[in-house]
């Protein structure tokens, strides 16, 4: 039983984008993606989603925190 190739491609998605697949798995995914619009669309979607999650989640340091951290310099190890 070989299973659905799109299910297999779905399993490889995260490691493909993380670039942690073995060479053989990488070729397997590339070959399938070259001929499968369904999976290609989902891979592209996942890549944009990751970028979007990162952009959305990043919050800059509140103003004033840096000055508070700066004041901690020179703290004594015994304090």
């Amino acid at each position: 039983m070989s299973g659905d190739p799109c299910d297999r491609c779905e399993e490889l998605l995260q490691d493909f984008l993380d670039r942690t697949l073995s060479d053989a798995e990488w070729r397997e995914a590339e070959t399938h993606l070259a001929g499968c619009d369904y999976c290609s669309r989902r891979y592209r979607f996942e890549a944009s989603l990751r970028r979007y999650v990162k952009t959305s989640a990043i919050e800059r340091m509140p103003p004033g925190l840096m000055a508070k951290l700066d004041e901690l310099r020179g703290l004594d190890a015994t304090a």
């Binding site: 998605l13 369904y38 592209r44 990751r50 979007y52 989640a57 901690l72 310099r73």
Partner: protein, 194 residues
């Protein structure tokens, strides 16, 4: 010879002061990146500020235990995640039992079944979800999974760094990361398609 020469001692003190100042400079230059991770590990901006301040207080006190030339960002984050666990401050909004998360295409499939397959082709498909909904979805993932997702996907740490920071094996980092990302997509799917 029992007493060091006065000028040797003075030189030692000067060298130590210089090393320490360098350490502090480098640590402070990473504050924005440290805060970025802290903010997504705890529930509020105030808690994140406290956590970062405690982290720097501890880091500055124990600066001698940092090995020059190693990854200082990871070293700081290790202090931070330990402090966070000690205080039991990790956000606990999720129920005790985590439902089995859906597979990786789940969110894309949901969007495609609501808006047609071509919706996935559009450039702004992800941006139709509000940034707040993404942040909320992230905060709802079980803490042990969220920690890894935040370190790797928000903080840009490698699997190896995350393993070192959290003191868990790399294989555990990978499985938590995969499950955490699927849990995130599942929550986004619940919000995106109603």
């Amino acid at each position: 010879m029992s007493e060091p020469e006065p000028d040797t001692e003075a030189r030692r003190i000067a060298t130590e002061a210089r090393d320490r100042a360098r350490f502090e400079e480098e640590a402070l230059s990473l504050a924005d990146q440290v805060y970025r991770v802290a903010r997504r590990l705890v529930g509020s901006r105030e808690e994140a500020e406290d956590l970062v301040q405690e982290t720097y207080a501890r880091a500055f006190r124990s600066w001698r235990s940092y090995t020059a030339g190693t990854n200082m960002r990871a070293w700081l984050l290790r202090i931070l995640t330990n402090l966070n666990v000690d205080r039991g401050r990790r956000i606990q909004r999720t129920p005790q039992t985590q439902p089995l998360e859906e597979t990786d295409y789940y969110l894309a499939n949901k969007l495609a079944s609501a808006g047609g397959e071509q919706v996935l082709e559009t450039d702004d498909v992800v941006e139709r979800m509000s940034q707040d909904s993404v942040v909320n979805a992230l905060s709802e993932i079980q803490p042990q999974f969220r920690e890894v997702v935040v370190l790797v996907d928000i903080g840009d740490f490698t699997y190896a760094d995350a393993a070192q920071i959290l003191d868990i094996p790399i294989g555990t980092v990978m499985s938590r990361l995969h499950r955490g990302r699927r849990a995130l997509k599942q929550r986004l799917a619940e919000g995106a398609v109603t």
